[in-house]
């Protein structure tokens, strides 16, 4: 079947099976920043924005997204660069596998929550797993990004 998606503000027509999930379709069409992790909605590395809201692309059918806005990390380049800088400055980067999804979720959180405290930040990021770090440097980086109005 054909689906019409708006990916990173560009109209796209993708060919897929009715049972395909967005993760597979996006990767087939070379959106390789969308990564496969657990494939069962738990780890968060496949996160994309669906009409601006973070969702696990491994569990959203491509056909469901027909007519909707999809954003990958390439679609928020300026903000992702900024988030990346804060992560770098705080030494929060290791393998980088979870960075695109975390950047998208942090970006969505900044839009959704008004001046969140650390508990609210942690709660919003539940289900975004990082297997390298202990999250402490990430917490510092996220806090400094949220306060960055540049």
């Amino acid at each position: 079947m054909k689906v019409n998606l708006i990916v990173n503000n560009q109209k796209k027509i993708f060919e897929c099976e009715p049972g395909d999930f967005l993760l597979d379709t996006l990767r087939t069409y070379n959106y390789l920043s969308v990564r496969r992790g657990c494939d069962t909605t738990n780890c968060g590395v496949c996160t994309i924005l669906f009409d601006g809201k973070p969702v696990p692309s491994c569990s959203v059918l491509t056909a469901k997204a027909n007519g909707h806005q999809i954003t990958t990390v390439e679609g928020i380049q300026a903000e992702a660069t900024k988030i990346g800088k804060h992560f770098g400055d705080e030494g929060a980067d290791q393998c980088g596998y979870c960075n695109p999804s975390l950047a998208l979720t942090v970006y969505a959180m900044k839009k959704e929550l008004n001046n969140p405290n650390m508990e609210e930040i942690k709660e919003y990021l539940v289900s975004n797993l990082c297997r390298c770090t202990g999250y402490i440097a990430q917490e510092r980086a996220i806090k400094s990004y949220l306060g960055d109005e540049s």
């Binding site: 049972g19 494939d39 909605t41 969702v55 056909a63 289900s127």
Partner: protein
């Protein structure tokens, strides 16, 4: 890569069309949010998406909050009216379900129709005296729906919760934050009295009718009566073991948290 084999994916424009598609074949499924589809379905004929049917609104009519079956768990969690309902019992139960990302996908309708034994939502809806509105069967209580596993296929349109004054308590016990509950307790109190529900026992949430009758028989509740009530809950609700917890552990948890929950509700009332 997990594969789901589906013949067709449809977004019908009317309820009648959706209903006709749904009943024409048992292998046709309504997918609601679709959050569990990957883990629960391997093959299907037609998947029916209710997106076009305007079932994604939260409204209030005559002190009844009407939640469309396609409203996501996240939308409910952050809705100010629902946040104030029975001191936010439904919002706080939803808040503990996995992460924001999955709560942006899962819907309340899907959570009800799935009748999941591990559900943290069903016990809360039961103590909030929730009613459901179906396309063909009309209005019925959630309890009636749960008690009738042979009900013919139908489309859930709305979930109705009366916005009356009351106090709520919810406790989820899980091994890790992302895991399913090994037990959950929901308690409410309004002018009609207490409602107590225990879920993930590991069976679906069930109201503790005898315990409710006992505790509602008193105007003033002493510690001893609270303990008696908690013991009655354990006597009348069926607990079992599974890979997450033993029967005995669940029973002990239930005793402690029913007593603690009742105490908190009474304290909040004052």
């Amino acid at each position: 890569m997990m594969k789901l084999v589906v013949t067709e994916y449809l977004k019908p424009k009317s309820l009648e069309e959706a209903y006709s598609l749904f009943i024409e074949d048992k292998k046709n499924h309504i997918i609601a949010g679709g959050a569990w589809i990957k883990l629960s379905l391997k093959t299907a004929n037609k998947l029916i998406d209710l997106e076009e049917l305007k079932l994604n609104e939260i409204t209030e009519i005559d002190h009844v909050i009407e939640i469309g079956s396609m409203v996501t768990l996240r939308e409910i969690e952050i809705n100010p009216k629902i946040n104030r309902l029975y001191n936010g019992i439904l919002s706080s139960a939803i808040h503990k379900i996995m992460g924001v990302t999955i709560r942006n996908v899962a819907t309340l309708g899907g959570s009800v129709m799935g009748k999941y034994a591990f559900s943290d939502i069903i016990p809360v809806l039961l103590v909030l005296r929730t009613r459901l509105v179906f396309y063909k069967h009309g209005e019925m209580s959630l309890q009636e729906f749960l008690d009738n596993p042979k009900m013919e296929r139908d489309i859930l349109l709305k979930i109705l919760i009366k916005r009356d004054l009351g106090i709520g308590f919810f406790k989820k016990v899980a091994i890790t934050p992302l895991d399913f509950s090994i037990l959950n307790i929901a308690i409410s109190k309004n002018a009609e009295g207490f409602k107590i529900c225990v879920g993930a026992t590991p069976y679906i949430g069930k109201l503790a009718v005898k315990a409710m009758e006992y505790i509602n028989g008193f105007k003033n509740v002493s510690d001893e009566k609270l303990l008696n009530c908690a013991n009655l809950v354990v006597e009348e609700i069926k607990f079992s073991k599974n890979n997450r917890a033993s029967k005995e552990y669940r029973e002990e948890l239930a005793k402690v948290y029913v007593k603690r929950g009742l105490k908190k509700v009474i304290a909040n009332e004052g």
